[in-house]
Structure formats: structure tokens, C-alpha cells
Amino acid sequence: MKVLEVRSLRKVFPGERSIIALEDVSFEVGKDEFLCIVGPSGCGKSTLLRMVAGIESANGGEILFLGKPISGPNEKITMIFQHFGLLPWKTALENVRLPLEVHGIPNEEARKIAIDYLGKVGLGDFLDTYPHDLSGGMKQRVGIARALAMRPEILLMDEPFSSLDELTASTLRREVLRIWADSNLPTDTFLMVSHNVSEAVFMADRVLIMSPRPGKVVEVVKVDIPRPRTEHARDPKFFDTVEYIIRVIEKACGGKLPGCEINDGIG
């Protein structure tokens, strides 16, 4: 079953010299699937994610969520951000509660749900802490709790680990995979943007490779490595897949990498 269908999407940023950010982008994401979008910086992958989130409009083509076109923010699609996107003047609990309350869930119930999800990400003891006093990894956990508490169908992630140190990132990657596999949670479809190829191969079912501006889909690579991938991160197959994707990006960039911020550090 297709949860998300993107059809010939086009995005133009108007201006003196208008920029074509996306050109004829089409792909699908199935239920229970983990899709990762990689590509050089400026290829429009974050814009694409925001269009799926309904906070950026298209100039052509359409995006269907469960068969219906997306026209604005949808409570069943939530997002976690590179810089966490937490409101600094609200505690962890208040941050998670806010979207619930905005969507009309009564205060007491919202509070219960928020506490429950903060507990799930291991922050049960930090309910009343302000983001200011949390570490980067903890902040992102609050971000994850906030996104999951809405019980969305699709979770969008915009380079969720790139502002964390490598050890924290590695822990959180596994945690996100655990959440993805958790059948008690309704959130099963994950769409992640990354510029870290190893991370993509480590996490995704399929990796969608985009070309530099104007962003187009160059190739979709199926990652044929059994899970849990922690046990296969040293397999030749893993390295071959990473290597192959980097080659494809290199070719899309015209044979050279400068300016294409490809990070092949091990996830």
C-alpha cells in the first residue's frame, strides 16, 4: 500500500533570477517503509521534505497522502528538525504538549500523552527542564517525542543527526530504528533527508539519490542488507552499497565532488 505518492513535482523560487529547486520529481513510499533521500547540498531535498509536510507549496505536480492531495500541514505527518526546533521558553513537557493542545486535545489528556512519550524516549526525569539545560541528544529526543506524540502516519526527518556529535548520533540512529520497528506505535512510514551516505545505508530500505539543482531523482537504490544492520555494518556489501551511491552522486555532480558535501563517515 502506498502511503505517499509524489508525482512530477516542480518547485521554483521566484526572484530576479528565479531558481528551479525541483524538476519532475516522482517517487512513492509504501507502508512500513523507511526511505532516505540523499544528494549534494542545495539539491532541494529539504524543500521536498517541507512540501510533504505541507509548509511549502508546489509549482507543479502533486503529493498524495493516502490517495488525497496534500494542501497544508496535516496532523498525521510530523517532522523532526536538524536544530531540534524546540521553543526555548517552554519546558520539555510543554514543548511536547503544545501541538496536542493546538489540536484540541484536553489539557489533562495532553499532559498524560506527553509524559508517556517523553518516557518512551528516556526523558521521564526531565519533564520540567528547559531546552537550554538539555544536551543536544536530549533536545532531539524531545523533538522525537513531540513528533511521535501526535501519533502520525508519516515521520519526516530533516538531517536529524547532523548537529549531534557522532557518538550521540549513533545511539539516536538505533533508537529511531527501534521506534520504526515498534509495532505498538502507529508511526511506521519514515522519510529522512541526509547527506551522510553511510547513515542512509545503515537506516533505510531504499535510498533515493538526487542531482544538484535543479533537483531530480537520479536513481533509487534498494538496500539489500539484512537487519539489524549493526551486525552487518562491517560487511563488504555495506561498503559496496555506500561506495556505489557515492559514485552515483559524483556522476550526477559532473564527476567531481567539491561543493557536494558528501560525508561517508561510518554511521
Binding site: 509548509i55 496532523e75 536538524q82 526555548p88 521558553w89 517552554k90 528547559y130
Partner: protein, 553 residues
Amino acid sequence: MRRMHAFGFVMGLLAILSLYILVISVVHNPEISNLPYYTLRTLARISATYLIALVTGLFFGLLATTKTGSMILIPLFDVLQSIPILGYFPAAIIFFISAFNGAEIGLELAAMLLLYTSMEWAIFFGVVGAVKNIPTNIVEAAKSFDLKGYGYIRHVVLPAIVPSLISGSTLAWGDGWFFMIAAEYITYGGKNYSLPGLGSYLAKAAYVYGDTNLAIVLLIIITILVVYINFLTWHRLTEKAGSGTYKPILRTGWPKGLALSGIRRFTHVPHIPRIHLSFGIRHAILSTPRRGIYSRLEKGMAVVTVIALIFFVATVAKPGIPSLDEIRGSLLIPEMANLPFYTACTLTRLTVAYFISLGIALSMGILAAEKKGFAMIFYPIYDIGQSVPILALFPILFVSLSQIFGGILGLEITSLTMLVADMIWYLFLNIVTAVKTIPDEIREVSQLIGMKGLQRVRHVVLPAIRPAVVTGSMLSWATGWNTVIFSEYMSYGPKVLWLPGLGSFLDKTALQEGNTILLGFLLLIMTALVIALDRLIWRRLLRKAERYAVEVM
């Protein structure tokens, strides 16, 4: 770009020349033919003072970055800048008039001193802040290459302070124009002294000739001159220095083309640095623990120096040091009993004006931030509004309002209007800048969550701009104290009108009775109030607000 500037320069000059010819030929006034002369005198006065302020600001600023220098100069200048400039102006006039036996040079020096004190702080704190903000890695790199002494100043310090010197100069220059009219038209001991200049001519147009139309024409001329000179100098320099002051302000997802081009196209005044600098000044003092919390010794030294300075200025006009009896005699006058009442009046006036300003600025700022259409209306208003030397509005406003409401009520309304017109810009600009710098991610989150209208304002916009509201409030109060001195007292032809308040008490003492000891005392009280409010309210609020401020990525 250069050709465009040359074109703008020539066209502007031609436009101004034809405006002058038009005004001189159309307006009927015995002094109108002196208009070009008055313009040149005012320009020369402000420019000369600016140059002195620049050189001394640079000198003291650099001196203040040395270890001993910083211990004395920074607390000292911080306290000095808290003294309402217009408050010690009467004392300066008394000193200079008696020192030069009433000759014009004495007045000229007094006026320049007033202008100087309005200009110096922006430049001084700009330099100190810029030197302090040189990144550690650059300082370390310089050290590792053994760059010392002159070489260090030449290659590291000077280039680093150029942008803030330019924005400090922009501020200083604007303040100079602001105080110009107060400096050129002086009432002392029941007599009017005036220096040839645009400011005094404007005051005379309103008070002596009673010609409101002429006053308005002069106000427009002054505003055009301010805008034109800013376009020629600071705007170009800001661009050249590529100071990047514009860059961090605007992010995507914002009507940026609109806001910025609106501002720049309309008057070509580099406004953004103004706010940044003002913020920077406060930050240089407030945010580092070393400077923010002075040691007891430093504080004590600064206070003693200031008291000594004030008494020196206050007493030097009289021969010798006054005896205790003299002091008692000067201070224990019947009107002294009204001091608490006067203080309450002035505080109330300022508070009322502040809340009116805050209300307007908040709604304007948030509307401008949330809706493109409003931004298109508000920014040009803001632009022109803040280029008008507000003090110059006083005579015009008073003359027209007193005709409607009568003397005292007219003066009260004028006073409040002046205060609001003066206090509102700092708040508005701080608020707009803060709303604009809310990080993209936070905007996206609020969009994604589906917050709208008031919900968004309550949960996102208001908390995000809290530090800016506090900073804007500090600045608006600081300038309010000056305006209150100017606006509670009005000598209008043969009549003298005053509102109960500290400002008018100070004016009466100085201008009518020449009681220098009382003057010094009142000034001390006012300074103490300014400092107390600053420490007890604003710094606390700022510290609180900054704890949960948005971290700019």
C-alpha cells in the same frame, strides 16, 4: 554602484538647492535669506563635534581595552552615559557663559559640549565592544605570528572596529541632530541666547515669529538634509565596509525582499546597524560577567568620580567651594518639599508614555512582522519618523496644541506626545528586528503544528521577542529621561509654562534662578533614578529574558 551614488549625490544636491531657492523666494520672513548660512553653521557645528567625538572615542575606547584602562574607564563611562544629557546642559551653559562673559564663543562651546556628550558614548562603547568581540582564534593566530603593539593594532584591532565605528558614527551623528535644537536655542536666567543655526531658527519661527508654517518647512528641510547626508556618508560606508550587519537579520520564509528593500529604497539610511549597535553596546557591558558586575572598588571609584565631576561643574561657576551653610541655603528652599511629588509626576509621565509606546510598537511590530501589507506601510513611516529630529517637533506641536487645549493641558499633551514619539522607535525597531530573526525552524514548527493568529503570537512571537522588548525598553527610557527635561518646561514669548516634574524643577532652578548647587543635587537625584531603574528593573528582566532566548544558529 559608484555611478549610481554619484548620480544620487548630484541629483540630491540639485534638489536641495532648488528647494532652498524655492523656500527663500516664497517664504516671507526677515531672516529667511540667512537660511543657507544657518545650514552651514549647523553642519559645521555638528561635523566639528563629531570629529572630536570620533578621535576621543577612538582614543578612550582603545585605552579602555587595556587592563587598567578598562577598570576605570568602562564603569566611569557607563555611569556618565546614564546622566541625562539635557540635565547637565544648564550647568555647562552657566559655566561657559560666565567664563567668556557672555560672548558667542562661550555659547558655541556649551552647544558643542552638549552635542559631544550625545555622540561620545555610541562611539566609545562601539569601539570597546568591537575589540572585545574579536574572535579568540584571531587573537591566538595573531599571537602565534608574534604580532604585537602597533602591528597588532594596525592589522587586527583597527580592521575589526571599522564596522562598529561606522555604525557608532551613524548613531552619534543621528543623536547630534536630535540634540541640535536644544543646543542652539538656550534660555538662561530669563534671557534667550541663540546660536545661528537651523535649530535656533526653527525655535524662533515657532516662539518669536509664531509662524507654524515656517517651522514645519524648516522641519522638513532638516529631515531631508539628515536623510541626504546619511545616504551620502553612512549608508555608503556601511555598504563598503561590507560589515555584514544586514546579513544575519533576514532569513528565508520572510517577506525579506520587501522589508529590506523597503527600508533601503526609501531613505537609504542604514538602520539595521543602529539596533545592532545599541544592542551591542548594552551587550558589551551586560553580558560578560567581568564587565557586567563591576567590583565594589570599581563601582565606588566611578561613583566618586562622577559626584566630584558634577560638583565641579556645578560649583565652578561660583568662586571657590561653597560653605556648608551655602549648600544648606541652596537646597532648603520651599519648593524642595515638592521634590517627591515632582519625582512621582515625572515617573508617571514617563511610565504612561512608555506603555503607550510599547502598546503601539508591539502591535505595529507584530503586524508588520506577520503581514506583508503592513510592513509596506510601517517601514517607510518608521524610516522617515526616526529621521526627524524629535526635539524640533516640540515648538511646532506646542504652538498648535496650546491653541486647542490651552497652555498647561496643551503642554501636557505635547510632552506626552514628544515622549511617545521619542521612545517608540527603539521599541519598534527592536521588536521588528527580533520578530525577523526568529529562526526558520521555529517558524516552521509553529506552521507545522498548525498554530494561527493569537495562538502563534502568544506561544511563539511574544516569548521570542522578550529580550528585544527589554533592550528596547532600556533604550527608550534612557532617551525618555532627556526628552522629559526638555518637554516639561516651556518659555513661550514672555510667558513661562511648566508641568510639575523633576525636569521642569531642574529647568527652573537652572534657567531662572541660577542656583547651581541645587542644580547639581537634582542632577544627582535624576542620575541615581536612572541607574536604579536600570539595575533594579531592566538588567534583571534582561537576564531573565535571555535565559530562554532563541539560540541563533
